[in-house]
């Protein structure tokens, strides 16, 4: 971080930012949570999921890719934007096969946690029940594409963090699927210690023999909503309320 800081506002709250920071980075540092799914602080932003879409000076854009600039006026926590976010999450639920009750990621799943935070009691769009493939060929890792939300975190992590190219997308639109660079996962050079295995927000890429270890009640999102860890920073260092 170098250069002079500047300020912009999010929902009327003044946020301090460094040149080069995106809106979501500056907000995270200031303790203001913007809901997001494909964004991961350790990876290059992709702007895929559109959950972090905000109104920036009146125009919609993803907060994870948009650089913050002086005097910017950002709207995030509004009924309209949260309703849109809820619909995006709802579409992801019906486009895949998400069975929370017996999924080992439940309680630790960012898709589920976003649905909780945004108050999605039940997806009401028509369920698609797509045919999705499972790959349990690798001794330590399995892929359950029923739960894939096409966030591309594993693709980015494999390339930039692991120096591999295990994952990629194939096809477009509703037919897009997570691909691997071999016929089966055990033919790739993936390892359980790879970053790509640990950044999956849902239960798609899972390390074998680790499921259901954390008891109900102690999992990441059991007690407090997703984003609480970011918002707690603001409680300790309250930002200046604008206007």
């Amino acid at each position: 971080m170098s250069g002079e800081t500047f300020t912009f506002t999010v929902d009327g709250v003044e946020i301090e930012a460094f040149p080069g920071q995106t809106i979501i980075q500056a907000c995270d540092a200031a303790g203001v949570y913007i809901p997001r799914l494909c964004y991961h602080p350790d990876l290059e932003p992709a702007g895929h999921c559109r959950v972090c879409t905000c109104k920036i000076d009146g125009r919609r854009s993803s907060a994870c890719t948009m650089p913050a600039s002086r005097g910017m006026v950002v709207e995030s926590n509004t009924a309209e934007l949260n309703a849109d976010r809820r619909t995006v999450i709802e579409m992801l639920f019906v486009e895949g096969n998400h069975f929370c009750p017996y999924c080992e990621k439940s309680g630790d799943c960012e898709l589920q946690a976003l649905a909780y935070r945004l108050g999605l009691a039940a997806p009401e769009l028509p369920y698609q029940w797509p045919h999705r493939e499972l790959d349990a060929s690798h001794p330590d890792i399995f892929i359950d594409r029923n739960r894939c939300v096409l966030c591309s975190r594993c693709i980015r992590a494999s390339r930039t963090e692991d120096g591999k190219t295990v994952f990629g997308f194939e096809r477009r639109g509703i037919h897009m699927r997570l691909n691997i660079d071999a016929k089966a996962l055990d033919e790739t050079n993936i390892a359980a210690a790879d970053k790509a295995v640990h950044v999956c927000p849902v239960g798609c890429i899972v390390i074998k023999r680790t499921g259901y270890r954390t008891p109900y009640g102690s999992r990441r999102f059991d007690q407090a909503p997703i984003g609480s860890d970011i918002e707690v920073k603001r409680a300790h260092h309250p930002a200046k309320e604008g206007r």
Partner: protein
């Protein structure tokens, strides 16, 4: 003034939501003061004989009988609530949606490892016809409210029901708002 009436049903579910409902423990005494139980597996009342204020639906629709009961509930309940994962998205029974009905029946009755000397897919006229897939309740009839969980905890059902009986929308606190 007469007490509001409550009806419940279990469609393609496991009765876990009803068990969870009974887990409200001593609040059952309070419940008796709040409602009259109408058609429900809990009192074994077989048919509706009038309009009921609140209906709780457990389970999705896996066969034509489920659809028949659900439609009866919609016709007779002022407020209809989907309770639990199966009513909301089909739940565990909806795992068969990923396989297909024929393949599923063949695996269970013809090709399964415990089938000896050629099996038979049941086709008795007394058996309700299976649907092509398991449907969430709201894909069959209009559902007014949803109480998620597998099952929803006793506190979740109690909070939801109490809100509805006092004329409010169920607003669950974070710790009661769970999909499992």
């Amino acid at each position: 003034m007469a007490k509001p009436k409550l009806a419940t049903c279990s469609l393609a579910g496991c009765f876990g939501c009803h068990m969870s409902f009974l887990d409200i423990d001593e609040r059952l005494v309070e419940l008796v003061d709040l409602v009259d139980l109408d058609k429900s597996p809990l009192d074994d009342k077989k048919d509706f004989d009038g309009i009921v204020d609140v209906g709780l639906v457990e389970g999705g629709c896996a066969n034509e009988h489920n659809v028949h009961v659900l439609r009866q509930f919609r016709q007779h309940c002022r407020i209809l609530v989907s309770v639990g994962a199966c009513a909301i998205n089909g739940g565990v029974p909806a795992m068969r949606n990923l396989v297909g009905l024929r393949e599923c029946l063949e695996e269970a009755y013809l090709k399964g490892p415990t089938v000896e000397a050629g099996g038979l897919i049941p086709n008795d006229e007394d058996l309700p016809l299976l649907l092509d897939r398991v449907y969430p309740s709201h894909e069959i009839v209009k559902i007014d409210y949803f109480l998620p969980g597998c099952p929803p905890s006793a506190d979740t059902i109690w909070e939801g029901l109490r809100a509805l009986l006092s004329g409010h929308e169920p607003k669950l606190p974070y710790k009661l708002f769970k999909y499992e």
